[in-house]
């Protein structure tokens, strides 16, 4: 069983340094606090009528917290491929893993799933701390209703990140590109501000990102909407899952073919 073995290895490596776990949670919290406190300082409070009329949710801390936590989790598979593969390349263990009887696809999937699980756990903690700091009311029903949407989102995020698996094998050091892309996702998915402030063509473009629909759907559930009322977002998510998995797989296969010729290369 390759997948659980890779996940176990990644978990052991991450949790071996407790200070690393604390620093990850702190990084998550600080970025959140920066933007929420900024929004509150500009607003002079936490409720925005304008935000309510454009998104249905007027409470800014809740709006930002949901978008931010989902954003962090959404870029997690991408980070796993970009930094996880690079780390193995730097250590010189990537080629050895490729030579093992395990399929490369299994190795990379294990990497992505483990990072996704770790980030989900960390972001769960950040979410709870954020909910406590900003006094966000949470009910069991809201959490229960959000779970299917979040699970569908995780599947979409995994497929989306898969596109980067092939690219990193081919181009090696794509960390800066990934970082630019992650910043871009913050803008295009309306994490900290409503998309209504963007031009119409950008709003249409933002529909291509699973995060846009995931954040919008979970926010809608938090304000008490039913699944029927957010079926548009759910349909988009279900449409994007196979689309990104297929695109990611095709790019990966193409990159693998080229990399087998030019070599995986180390550092």
């Amino acid at each position: 069983m390759i997948l659980p073995a890779v996940i176990e290895k990644e978990f052991r490596m991450f949790f071996r340094y407790p200070l690393r776990v604390i620093s990850s949670i702190l990084v998550g919290l600080v970025f959140l606090l920066q933007f929420v406190f900024f929004g509150q300082a500009v607003l002079g409070g936490r409720y925005s009528q304008l935000l309510a009329s454009s998104t249905g949710m007027g409470d800014y801390p809740t709006y930002a917290l949901i978008g931010y936590v989902l954003w962090w989790v959404s870029v997690s598979p991408m980070e796993a491929y970009v930094w996880g593969v690079r780390r193995e390349l730097q250590r010189g263990t990537f080629e050895m893993n490729i030579l093992s009887p395990a399929r490369i696809l299994e190795l990379l999937s294990g990497l992505a799933v483990s990072w996704l699980l770790m980030d989900s756990a960390l972001m769960g903690i950040v979410f709870l701390i954020g909910a406590l700091i900003f006094d966000i009311p949470l009910t069991f029903t809201i959490i229960l209703k959000s779970i299917p949407i979040i699970l569908a989102s995780l599947l979409a995020f995994l497929g989306f990140g898969f596109i980067f698996a092939g690219l990193v094998m081919l181009l090696k050091n794509i960390g800066p590109f990934a970082q630019i892309f992650e910043f871009g996702m913050l803008f295009f998915s309306g994490v900290f501000f409503p998309l209504s402030v963007m031009p119409k063509w950008l709003v249409s473009f933002s529909k291509l990102f699973p995060l846009t629909h995931a954040a919008s759907a979970v926010r809608a559930i938090f304000v008490g909407k039913t699944y029927a009322e957010i079926q548009g977002e759910i349909v988009w998510l279900l449409f994007l899952i196979p689309l990104y998995w297929a695109a990611g797989y095709l790019i990966f296969k193409w990159a693998e073919k080229i990399t087998r010729v030019v070599g995986y290369g180390g550092y």
């Binding site: 340094y17 200070l19 690393r20 990084v27 933007f35 900024f38 304008l50 800066p176 501000f193």
Partner: protein
């Protein structure tokens, strides 16, 4: 002769650090984009929440109604200030990871020269970033930026810099002791980021965090710079006096702390990977 040798060594360290940076040029683009991301977010959050470019609430708290100008000034002070902290600590960590720290420390140069060489490169980069940011922020985000007012506040920034250097030295001393200093540095940088008052006035933070923010040299520097830019030196006497005292304390404690730590490290030995 000694001074000439140290200056040559300083130049050598700075050039080495610059060449390492240049070997990954895309990081430069990514770093520059971070500034636009930061300020762009500020603008869009403000517009999305209030629909207006000016905030009466922020004016009441800080005297600045244009929230983008407020964020830009904070971002520039923070970016400049982090140069020293990052320069000191990462110069140790990068060499520690590369396994070259013991060689660098065994070289016939003063440790301070080693640190300052790395910091010098970061200051140079920081100035390049500012030269890119200032005109583009003015054009893209319509910042009401008076260069004369900003130049007027530079002496205040330099006073704060003394404290930031002191803090960087103290942090470098701690880093020498840690086997895996990466998370420690991240925690430190995040604390500085959160408590710098770059994006919001520290008065909206809970009381305990406000005290912490006042103890670090970053928020007092941001506050003093903003006040001088907005109201002039006469109205900022209190902030400047506090900053002078704080910077002095950090400079003394940082120097003594680092010296002590280095002496200990010579006894127990530096560690590598």
């Amino acid at each position: 002769m000694g001074v000439t040798n140290e200056l040559r060594a300083l130049y050598g360290v700075a050039v080495k650090s610059w060449r390492i940076f240049l070997s990954y040029r895309v990081w430069f683009i990514s770093d520059v984009m971070f500034g636009f991301f930061f300020v762009g977010q500020a603008l869009l959050i403000g517009m999305g929440l209030t629909g207006e470019r000016n905030s009466p609430a922020l004016q009441q708290l800080t005297g600045y109604s244009d929230y983008v100008t407020f964020a830009v000034l904070g971002f520039m002070v923070l970016g400049f200030g982090l140069t020293f902290l990052s320069g000191f600590v990462w110069s140790v960590v990068d060499e520690l990871y590369a396994g070259t720290l013991e060689y660098s420390f065994a070289a016939p140069i003063r440790r301070l020269t080693f640190f300052l060489g790395n910091v010098l490169t970061r200051i140079f980069l920081s100035l390049i970033y500012m030269a890119i940011y200032v005109p583009l922020f003015v054009v893209l985000f319509d910042i009401q930026f008076n260069p004369f007012n900003f130049i007027k506040a530079l002496p205040v920034l330099f006073v704060g810099t003394v404290g930031m250097i002191g803090m960087g030295m103290a942090a470098a001393g701690i880093v020498l002791y840690l086997k895996d200093p990466g998370p420690f540095i991240t925690i430190l940088e995040m604390l500085v980021f959160a408590l710098s008052g770059a994006m919001y006035p520290i008065s909206i933070l809970p009381k305990g965090l406000q005290i912490m923010a006042k103890i670090l040299p970053y928020a007092p520097t941001s506050e003093a710079v903003r006040k001088v830019v907005a109201y002039g030196y006469e109205k900022a006497v209190g902030e400047i006096s506090y900053l002078v005292g704080l910077s002095l304390i950090y400079a003394i404690l940082g120097y003594l702390g680092y010296k002590w730590s280095e002496k200990q490290a010579r006894t127990v030995g530096l560690k590598s990977y």
